[in-house]
């Protein structure tokens, strides 16, 4: 019986074939959630990577090829996907991913194999903590939570906050914690924290409760799908407080889904938005290129991060002078003042990008980039 299994396996692997690897191509793996609940973010980031690859498809005279795998918004799949990129496709560097827990699952594999991995929008501090090969082109949640709190308390003068947290989502739980820490440290008061679970569509019970507490601001560290519905229901129930959120709320569709209810909503974001007044040259180029490629689609910050992640790897390969994982890793760690779509990027000692925290407000049914905030930790 065992022999039969062994035979079956041997046959399967014989057919699996060996990865063909040539010296004249540089292969960059991309693992993103293209299906499952994070698919909308993953698809946007993939488009950004593809745009960057179209623009720069050679480095050091070699062709650059991107190999994409779907991690299905699932951690087991994420680890599998990265294994496959490394073992089978023999990639020299990896881009990914949207969603911190996915980045961590994949990161464990990259770290073991010694292949550099550049995160796009995974903002949880644990992603790069204690890792040699894991980097990211975005800022981290403690800064973002503090940024939102600083803006609410200092700029807008709001003293009483409530939070509605997706308890089934690590991003949401982490960000709400950092917001609360920073907000109470400044002297603000968090009057109520209520939970929900990803996929819920009825928030009326929680919102009615929050409204009866009369806060000045409601912080919702949600993904935009739920965030839009929360805002709609809050307005239906007569909420008058300010609502704020984090980077995961960033989506071109937000005004379409939210309608009038999202008017006045403020969110922290990475410093890029098509509505920015003074864009840097890279961002301008990206925006124009995007509009030429995707006629009906607005460019957005997730795509920008995908684009930046690709470009930062190319930049590192150029500086390293060869496309070897170790050399790329070393060069990535030394990245200083790289001009990306999301502004100047410097990789610090914990491998996170040092970036200003941007703010977007919905005014008259349009997303408006209102500027940046310096977070007080």
């Amino acid at each position: 019986m065992k022999r039969i299994i062994a035979l079956c396996m041997a046959m399967v692997f014989a057919f699996a074939g060996l990865a063909w690897s040539a010296d004249d191509t540089v292969r960059i793996g991309v693992f993103l959630p293209l299906t499952g609940q994070n698919a909308f973010g993953g698809q946007l980031e993939l488009e950004g990577v593809q745009l960057a690859n179209k623009e720069v498809n050679t480095v050091l005279g070699k062709k650059v090829e991107i190999v994409t795998v779907d991690n299905k918004s699932d951690k087991v799949e994420a680890a599998n996907a990265v294994k496959r990129l490394i073992e089978k496709d023999k990639v020299q560097a990896i881009i990914g991913t949207y969603g911190s827990s996915l980045a961590m699952a994949g990161g464990e594999v990259s770290e073991k194999a010694g292949i550099p991995q550049v995160g796009t929008s995974c903002t949880n501090p644990l992603v790069t903590a204690g890792k040699k090969y894991i980097f990211r082109v975005c800022f981290i949640d403690p800064l973002q939570g503090a940024g939102a709190a600083t803006y609410a308390y200092k700029t807008l003068g709001l003293k009483k906050a409530a939070m509605l947290v997706d308890v089934a989502n690590d991003y949401s739980v982490g960000l709400s914690n950092f917001f609360k820490k920073s907000f109470t440290k400044m002297g603000g008061q968090v009057v109520s924290t209520l939970n929900y679970q990803s996929g819920d569509q009825d928030f009326t019970a929680q919102l009615s409760k929050i409204i009866s507490e009369k806060p000045d601001v409601l912080f919702i560290p949600s993904y935009f799908a739920e965030g839009a519905i929360i805002m709609k229901q809050a307005k239906e129930l007569g909420a008058t407080f300010k609502i704020m959120g984090g980077d995961a709320m960033d989506n071109p569709e937000i005004t379409k889904i939210g309608g009038k209810a999202v008017e006045g909503f403020v969110q922290t974001t990475f410093p890029y938005d098509p509505s920015m007044k003074d864009m840097n040259a890279t961002a301008k180029k990206f925006t124009e290129e995007w509009k030429r490629t995707f006629l009906s689609k607005e460019p957005n910050v997730n795509a920008a991060l995908g684009y930046d992640a690709y470009m930062i790897i190319i930049d590192a390969i150029k500086r390293a002078g060869k496309a070897e994982p170790e050399a790329i890793t070393k060069a990535l760690a030394e990245t200083k003042g790289f001009m990306g779509v999301t502004g100047s990027t410097t990789i610090n000692e914990t491998h996170d990008a040092v970036k200003p925290i941007g703010l977007i407000e919905i005014k008259d049914g349009k997303k408006v980039y209102v500027g940046e905030v310096a977070p007080e930790l």
Partner: protein, 297 residues
């Protein structure tokens, strides 16, 4: 908690509960006749919602026409599902059809992901739906009043079909004893197809209402409401039409009021229904109205 807040919670409960009730009726119809938990019901619910909004946004159809077409279309899908995936298994062990329905559920959901993408889509509601009536601090949305009325009307309509028409007679016969029904000349397959058609039309109607209340479409939108509505049907007594309505409304109240009175439990909200299910099954598996046999569909 003051009186106004409590009334607001009660209205929220009624809205959610009557939506559960709408979905639960469809489950109970099919179960009453075939003893089949139709897992695919929640996906049919999702398709119904999608069809309407494709109709309105892509084909620029007027609302009433889009709704009518969607319901017809979804009923067709339900009949097809029965024909392809359940009918060949009529003589098989009951669980085979259940496994098949789990397969169909995953299949439809992933087909939706392939064709519609997993990106949540916005639902455009007519302007008047967004305007709540305001009484003091209590806000009542039009849909809060409309959905319970619709649930009751559909319930009465179904009861009429089941107890006052020939098809209904066939349904009751099949639920009693399918073999004998064959022998007595009941067109079993046709009656079952009609049942699936009606059940799916109900799923579509509730999907549309759901999307109007929670204005967003996703391929996975049916899963959680579907499970909960099924539990509501079990709670009310599976196979009983008015039981499904009562069970749905009660489940809505349980969910919202628990969060209202014990805010710390809000994170456990999705588990309430399942706890209720296990408790009901342990104490009275026939549910609230399931004991009276003549009440079976």
């Amino acid at each position: 908690m003051n009186v106004e807040t409590f009334i607001q919670h009660a209205l929220n409960s009624l809205t959610l509960g009557s939506l559960y009730a709408l979905i639960a009726i469809g489950y109970t119809m099919v179960y009453g006749i075939l003893r089949l938990i139709n897992f695919a019901h929640s996906e049919i619910f999702m398709l119904g919602a999608y069809f309407v909004f494709w109709g309105v946004t892509l084909l620029a159809l007027p609302w009433p026409l889009a709704i009518a077409l969607s319901i017809a279309f979804t009923a067709g899908v339900g009949i097809m599902v029965d024909k392809v995936a359940y009918r060949p298994l009529r003589d098989a062990p009951r669980i085979s059809a259940l496994i098949s329905s789990i397969g169909v559920s995953f299949f439809l959901q992933n087909v939706a992901i392939v064709f519609f993408q997993a990106i949540p889509r916005a639902v455009y509601r007519p302007e008047w739906m967004e305007q709540p009536f305001i009484l003091g601090n209590v806000r009542i949305l039009p849909i809060t009043l409309f959905v319970p009325v619709l649930s009751v009307v559909l319930m009465l309509g179904l009861l009429y079909i089941v107890y006052r028409t020939k098809t209904g007679l066939g349904m009751r016969a099949i639920s009693k004893d399918i073999e004998t029904s064959y022998l007595m000349g009941v067109p079993v397959n046709r009656v079952i197809a009609i049942t699936f058609g009606i059940g799916s039309a109900l799923a579509a109607a509730s999907g549309i209402m759901w999307a109007l209340r929670y204005p967003q479409l996703q391929p996975i939108m049916g899963t959680i409401p579907g499970f909960k509505a099924f539990i509501a049907a079990v709670f009310g007594g599976i196979g009983s039409i008015h039981g499904a309505v009562v069970g749905g409304v009660i489940l809505g109240f349980i969910e919202i009021m628990t969060v209202a009175f014990f805010p710390d439990l809000a994170g456990y909200r999705d588990a309430f229904a399942f706890v209720l299910l296990i408790v009901v099954l342990m104490i009275k598996p026939t549910g609230l109205f399931g004991a009276r046999v003549e009440d079976k569909v």
